[in-house]
Symmetry: C2
Subunit: 239 residues, 2 copies
Amino acid sequence: MSGQNGQAPAELLSANNITALFDSVDAFLFDCDGVIWKGDKLIDGVRQTLDVLRSKGKKLIFVTNNSRRSRRQYAHKFHSLGVSVSEDEMFSSSFAAAMYLKVNNFPQENKVYVIGGEGILEELRQAGYTGLGGPEDGEKRVQLKSNCLFEHDKNVGAVVVGLDPHINYYKLQYGTLCIRENPGCLFIATNRDAVGHLTDLQEWPGAGCMVAAMCASTEKEPIVVGKPSTFMMEILSKK
Amino acid sequence: MSGQNGQAPAELLSANNITALFDSVDAFLFDCDGVIWKGDKLIDGVRQTLDVLRSKGKKLIFVTNNSRRSRRQYAHKFHSLGVSVSEDEMFSSSFAAAMYLKVNNFPQENKVYVIGGEGILEELRQAGYTGLGGPEDGEKRVQLKSNCLFEHDKNVGAVVVGLDPHINYYKLQYGTLCIRENPGCLFIATNRDAVGHLTDLQEWPGAGCMVAAMCASTEKEPIVVGKPSTFMMEILSKK
């Protein structure tokens, strides 16, 4: 095989060169859903593989588009599955959303409305921001009455949308009003995955489902911080 | 002004020709939300206008993309606002969804899952079909547990999606599984409007919001029966 565009030629992996490749790599990045676990079950061979990599002194990073948990909560999940992973080794789209606000100097006095899980709220808090919504709004209902105005906080300067199993009309209207009516309000999506692996036996509607709903009602497109956008990788490469 | 493509030349309306135009028209089609009413309030001048048209023997048709009510329920709404309109004069996207199934010979033994209001279920019943879901599933919650399978009816042959203020994750997963896993299952949208006029003081996320959510999780595009698709007009022109 010959190299193109000045790159080194591609080479098939074989028993001869795999050790050299392994030795040349300092860090391993892993996806989590469907790679490390399915729902709450560790996938066979994962523990042994990670043990080997750690024994060789490799740096491990666990990247996930799943925004339901914070990095701390993911480290706890690993621990509950018998695998030791630190918060610093986790990189979730919930963290990426908070980082996006931080690197773009989002004002601390502005609030962030969340359609998604507690993980996003926790990462926002850790980054010094005030989050609204999330699980707390899961049981709220709208009043569809004459002369009744649905109010929203005019200080919300960003709406973060991720996978939300407690999605409802209240949250959709709240987020829509913030994006439509608060000047300059950001619309941030953790990711647009069609499905999420919330349990081990089947797939579930992913963050893309809630994000698409918000795109339709706001008639706007979001800033996507998770994969396949490059934002997470850019932040990671700076670590 | 000169005519193009063989059409009669356009003519500005004036005091001289408006009577001739009015006399030449047999039927008047009206939109409802924002034209006849806002939320539960009749718009000024509507009653008088309709009275004049009826006194001149004009045929009236009320067309609405809003699928929350059946034609019977819309006639009742008109009555409650002090305007007499019959079920036969109504043409709603809830009815259009049922008509779509009928003209396409959808089997009576197949069921229809509904993300939307009671109006769709009532129109399905009137057309001889068995609807599932709708308001009944509004308070259902999903179980996100290991070894727990979310079951759906394998006899669902169509999913109808309209504006649903009781949208939740249960309905999104149910509809998604039907479309993804039941062979040939139809995905029908009453319409894709960004907003709905559910109350008089503000706009709310429209059917387009729920439809977009389902498009994202199924990775499929729906058959749209309401405006701006021509299906409703084709059925109307046959009346």
